[in-house]
């Protein structure tokens, strides 16, 4: 398990990773690999929460099942922070929610007045 397989996550033309499917596609590249893995985030300025959440889940699952390590390299602060945030919310069930009033207007003029006021 001393070998390292390096995966460049994106070419230089694309600086953000957005969907869960892209995270899944990245992990398809390492199926069956017997080495440790490095995901290289060079050029990536932004990752969405969805991408980060899926990437984090797959990383944990892979490391547990394959008994290998996945390293994240050349990630900027934004990427590191987003991965950190999703790692903290995997088991979070209590979200604060301020009740929102539900309003009905008896005629369309009152609805228009409301909309013009926003």
């Amino acid at each position: 398990m001393s070998l390292i397989k390096k995966i460049i996550v994106s070419d230089s033309a694309k600086n953000s990773l957005i969907s869960r499917e892209i995270a899944v596609a990245l992990f398809k590249k390492i199926i069956g690999s017997e080495s440790n893995i490095e995901f290289d985030f060079t050029n990536i300025e932004f990752i969405s929460r969805s991408f980060a959440d899926q990437f984090y889940k797959l990383k944990i699952e892979y490391e547990q099942n394959q008994n290998s390590k996945i390293q994240i390299v050349n990630a900027n602060e934004n990427v590191i922070n987003m991965l950190d945030i999703v790692s903290q919310t995997q088991n979070s069930t209590n979200r604060e929610f301020q009740p929102v009033p539900i309003i009905k207007f008896s005629n369309s003029e009152m609805l228009s007045d409301y909309l013009f006021s926003i």
Binding site: S48, K57, T89, I102, Y114
Partner: protein, 304 residues
């Protein structure tokens, strides 16, 4: 049936939304087999109307109805429509990321992005195309707005989360995205819509919740209730986006699906039950994002 599009809209946030509701009320009252949207006297069109009409027109087409858009080529607006690629959207089919960036370079000096009808299918080819489109649009907005740091991160976040919602939940053939920047007013308007099954039906189909009304479904969505199996770490999109935009950036957030809407700004928030005639099967989100850097805004405070 002909719908004559109003010739001018103010910068008021709610006026174009009210207009879209009125268009829906007119159409739903008649249930026509064909609809013509007449833009021949249009002079200034709100981005919310552009996306709203695009979503309604596509929804009508999926119901087998005939849709026609009428323009008057003798006035300046059609060149704007051409520039934004209304109503069909910019054709990115077959382009690589590098090609998209190159083609969109023309928009760097403009105050709008082209209208985008992005694919929503999860098959690899369409996922990659969608990913590349949203990434390229983010790059153009960065250059247009000349933003860095937390505010740029927030704009990326809002667009990514809300377009992902369309992909993950709507079962719409396409998602719709458009943005217009108003440099003299220091804000941008972003509108994202689909013509899919709507929020209420998404919850019902998931089996994760059983809302009995569109208002209840919207309440679940803004609370962050997921429709997916991995409930604890999903469902953040709408709930975090609205808080980030209104509490963090002091902007405005609007969500519409079925016959209910939600609005939030810094001072107020409410779910509104709309007249049944204003019913729209898909979903529409309108955002007004202030573009003045705000040093007090902490992006990571709102990403949970």
């Amino acid at each position: 049936m002909k719908i004559k599009i109003q010739n001018r809209f103010s910068y008021n946030f709610g006026e174009p939304l009210n207009y879209v509701f009125n268009v829906l009320i007119q159409i739903n009252a008649v249930n026509p087999t064909a609809v013509s949207f007449d833009f021949s006297e249009s002079k200034f069109i709100s981005p919310f109307v552009i996306v709203g009409i695009t979503a309604v027109a596509n929804s009508l087409k999926t119901q087998g109805k005939r849709v026609e858009l009428i323009f008057n080529k003798s006035i300046p607006v059609p060149s704007y429509f051409n520039a934004i690629h209304f109503p069909g959207g910019y054709n990115f089919e077959g382009m690589t990321s590098a090609e998209m960036n190159s083609k969109l370079e023309d928009y760097t000096s403009k105050t709008f992005i082209p209208l985008v009808l992005f694919p929503t299918s999860l098959i690899d080819r369409e996922s990659t195309l969608r990913e590349n489109i949203i990434s390229a649009i983010g790059s153009i907005l960065k250059k247009q707005l000349k933003l860095t740091g937390n505010l740029l991160q927030a704009i990326y976040y809002l667009i990514d989360e809300l377009t992902n919602n369309v992909t993950d939940h709507s079962e719409s053939e396409k998602g719709i995205l458009f943005a217009q920047f108003y440099p003299s007013k220091n804000y941008m308007d972003v509108c994202i819509a689909d013509f899919g099954r709507g929020i209420k039906q998404t919850y019902l189909d998931s089996g994760k919740a059983n809302p009995t009304s569109h208002e209840e479904a919207i309440e679940l969505a803004i609370k962050g209730r997921s429709t997916k199996n991995q409930t604890v770490s999903r469902g953040f999109g709408i709930s975090t986006s609205r808080r980030m935009l209104t509490e963090g950036l002091r902007g405005k957030f609007f969500l519409f699906s079925g016959n209910a809407m939600f609005y939030q700004n810094t001072e107020k928030q409410a779910i509104i039950e709309l007249p049944e005639g204003a019913h729209f099967k898909g979903c529409m989100v309108a955002l007004r994002i202030p573009t003045i850097p705000n040093t007090a805004f902490d992006f990571y405070k709102y990403t949970e």
